[in-house]
């Protein structure tokens, strides 16, 4: 083959791509109409959406009743949502039967909690260790005292029977995570322990809790706690399901953390041991900080799941947000065919916004961590 030599004399121009291969038209051609089947699907989807979406939007906005004092107006206009009902019941949905005069205490606890969580989750925050200490140790005690009240401090006691609504949902979820995190860490470490008794005990605990439905854990905590504890210790009606939630969440947390511990790799352990650190020091200073940072997205996902699972506490008589909504729906003043739908749709929107927002944050953290690890 004779050699075909070539040397470039002038550079090629950089052209714009031909019209049909970029821009909106090209995008539509590739993504919506790339074949006959695809085009049919596109048309089908557009018809579906064009039919349902305007109806949904009208139901929620133009045809909805936004203000009223009772259900009469909503009964008259049954083709739209009854947001007036939500507005009227909003305080009950937030606080349950918590005495009106004391509700500032709930607001305070929620505000402080939100601040601390934001501090902890903001990845570049200064002195996060302080935030962690405050959140995991000081805040629970503070919150408990404020919410329950104490005659010593001049705060009237509010029985847990009266607690209900959004703040109870948040409370149970946050308490669940706060206390299940240390317990989960212990279980995760225990499961990886070389000591057979410790490892077996951890495995048995974790697999037992993960193998049964959450409701049975709640029943167990509610019905068996009074039997297994001495008469004098009779635990509060809110404390029992809270204990159940902590146990349940700890098992799943343990598995998340174990994943993080495993992905650290032997190198970290060996590096720490080579420096002469003993097991407690190595775990506290080297292993756990890295593992926990790695599983923050997983922990946030656990929190989302737990927040949704707290809807089940109504089975043992705790009035969470969903149960409060169920109660509100039964009010005869507001009775009407649209009330139930409005209530459930609003509850759905609430849970969706909260959970989806947290899921977005978790994805954001995962991206940042992935970059750092490259």
């Amino acid at each position: 083959m004779d050699s075909l030599a070539y040397v470039r004399d002038a550079p090629e121009s950089e052209d714009a791509p031909p019209m049909m291969s970029s821009g909106v038209l090209a995008w539509a051609r590739v993504n919506l109409f790339s074949s006959i089947g695809s085009s049919l699907v596109t048309i089908g989807c557009i018809t579906l959406v064009a039919y349902w979406l305007p109806q949904l939007i009208a139901w929620a906005t133009t045809r909805a009743i936004w203000s009223a004092t009772d259900g009469a107006l909503c009964r008259q206009h049954q083709d739209g949502a009854c947001w007036a009902f939500i507005a009227a019941k909003w305080d009950y949905l937030r606080f349950g039967s918590y005495p009106v005069a004391e509700r500032w205490r709930v607001d305070l606890v929620e505000a402080v909690g939100a601040l601390l969580i934001a501090w902890l989750l903001w990845t570049n925050a200064p002195r996060r260790m302080w935030g962690a200490l405050l959140f995991f140790i000081v805040y629970p005690i503070l919150a408990l005292v404020l919410l329950r009240g104490s005659s010593l401090l001049g705060l009237p006691v509010v029985d847990t029977l009266l607690w209900g609504g959004i703040f109870v949902s948040l409370l149970t979820a946050v308490v669940g995570i706060v206390f299940s995190l240390p317990l989960g860490v212990l279980l995760a470490l225990g499961r990886r322990s070389p000591l057979p008794v410790v490892r077996t005990a951890s495995i048995l605990f974790i697999e037992f809790v993960r193998g049964v439905p959450f409701i049975t854990i709640l029943f167990m905590a509610n019905n068996l706690a009074p039997l297994f504890l001495p008469e004098a210790w009779a635990p509060d009606r809110l404390l029992r399901p809270l204990a159940g939630i902590v146990i349940f969440s700890a098992a799943y947390m343990a598995e998340e953390i174990r994943g993080g511990l495993q992905s650290l790799g032997k190198g970290q352990y060996e590096g720490a041991m080579a420096l002469g650190l003993n097991y407690p020091l190595m775990t506290a200073l080297v292993i756990l900080p890295q593992a926990l940072t790695l599983v923050i997205p997983g922990i946030v996902n656990n929190f989302i799941g737990l927040f949704m699972d707290t809807t089940l506490v109504s089975v043992v008589g705790i009035t969470d947000f969903l149960e409060a909504m169920n109660n509100a729906i039964k009010d005869p003043v507001w009775a009407g065919p649209t009330i139930m739908v409005t209530g459930y749709v609003f509850a759905g929107i609430f849970y969706f916004c909260f959970c989806f927002g947290m899921a977005r944050y978790s994805a954001h953290v995962e991206r940042i961590l992935a970059k750092g690890r490259k």
């Binding site: 959406v49 037992f208 439905p213 049975t216 068996l224 008469e231 065919p337 759905g348 849970y351 969706f352």
Partner: protein, 391 residues
């Protein structure tokens, strides 16, 4: 280095001795807690007159159950009620799991579709379902959709054979006639023939390289053979159609609204998670695999069947079985809408009536643990057989 200086300074700092001490301490703590708990339990149960032991199993239950696969009346024992509840749980799971898997795979494939609109709509579905509590979904299905159906006298009729009202869905109940056994035989024969054809086609392909359309032939057999038999000797079933008598329907196959709500809720909820598992599994197969298959001349369908899907299924199976278990566990939410499953009957009604909390909870949790264990063992066996082999 002589032996003397190799001994630890005291036996307390010897790693093994320490390990032993920690373990003994742990066993001691657990034992102490257990003894304390048991002691308290015995004292408390005696004081409140709560039965200790399983004698209640043979006592008369005294309550009705509106769905029982085995015979049950309010004169049956608590033990019988347990079996009724367990069967109801397994029934709901047996119906929901295949439906959820089917819907989940469909939505998962939609999520992977190159059609932007389809994949976004599927995303909307999975986002909503995964961020809504299952209980809310169940309450919505039960209270909003099913309860708003008309009464029996104004039932929605589907082709005059099925009826929908607020007491349930009444389907025609198949009643076997004479040719039923022939029909069943035909179905069985079709299945055996389909497998036989596939084996023969495989052997022929190994020998000569020629390919045969096994899927089409199998479908034709399974559908065609029973149809031929029906045409020849008559229908194998008549249908007992529900009739309105008085205020209610008699006959037919009644699906109570509680069960319908539970099944709809579980299926729509779980399908969203299964869809994400399917999507993640397929995306996890490196794109180089389908490129290599294409470079070898394999058509897209063959490349999917021989290269991508076998690898994706290995990744999908473990989280998929985890979702199956979740369906079984989530069926316990039946207690909120009154479906008579194991938890609702046994850990609910029976526990309330007998007050034998420890025994009832132990049995209930034991059942779920056994189910979890069986599934875990099956998954282990699957992994041992099919996991990708590395060095």
């Amino acid at each position: 280095m002589d032996l003397a200086s190799a001994k630890p300074s005291s036996w307390l700092s010897d790693q093994r001795a320490r390990g032993l001490i920690y373990q003994i301490l742990l066993i001691g703590c657990i034992a102490a807690l257990a003894c304390g708990a048991i002691y308290n339990a015995v004292v408390n149960m005696r004081a409140r007159g709560i039965p200790m032991g399983f004698g209640f199993w043979n006592d008369v239950a005294g309550f009705d159950i509106n769905l029982h696969l085995i015979s049950y009346s309010n004169q049956s024992t608590y033990g019988r009620a347990f079996w009724v509840g367990l069967l109801n749980t397994l029934l709901v799971a047996a119906i929901s799991i295949p439906l959820a898997t089917l819907l989940g795979f469909v939505i998962g494939v939609a999520r992977l579709s190159p059609n932007w609109l389809l994949s976004r709509l599927a995303l909307v579905y999975t986002s909503i379902m995964r961020n809504t509590p299952l209980l809310l979904l169940l309450l919505f299905w039960y209270n909003v959709v099913l309860k708003s159906l008309p009464g029996p006298r104004q039932s929605i009729s589907i082709g005059g054979a099925a009826f929908l009202n607020d007491r349930g869905l009444y389907l025609p109940l198949p009643v076997a006639r004479e040719p039923a056994s022939l029909f069943a035989g035909a179905v069985l024969a079709a299945i055996v023939l389909a497998f036989g054809f596939r084996a023969w086609a495989r052997r022929r392909q190994d020998r000569t390289g020629a390919q045969a359309p096994t899927a089409v032939v199998a479908a034709a057999l399974v559908l065609g053979l029973p149809a031929l038999v029906t045409a020849a000797v008559g229908a194998p079933f008549t249908f007992d159609i529900a009739r309105l008598s008085g205020f209610n329907f008699q006959g037919g196959l009644q699906i109570i609204p509680e069960m319908a709500a539970l099944v709809f809720g579980l299926v729509t909820f779980t399908a969203a998670f299964i869809a994400e598992i399917v999507r993640a599994g397929v995306l996890a197969v490196p794109v180089g695999q389908s490129e290599a298959a294409g470079a070898l001349g394999l058509h897209r369908d063959l490349s999917m069947k021989l290269v991508v899907i076998p690898q994706a299924m290995r990744l999908i199976t473990p989280p998929l079985t985890s979702q199956f278990l979740n369906v079984v566990k989530n069926s316990s939410l039946a207690v909120f809408i009154g479906y008579p499953d194991l938890v609702q009957i046994f850990a609910g009604t029976v526990l309330n009536q007998t007050q034998a909390a420890v025994q009832v909870m132990a049995i209930t949790m034991g059942v779920y643990l056994v189910i979890s264990l069986v599934v875990a063992l099956a998954l282990n066996a699957f992994n041992a057989r099919y996991a990708l082999r590395g060095r």
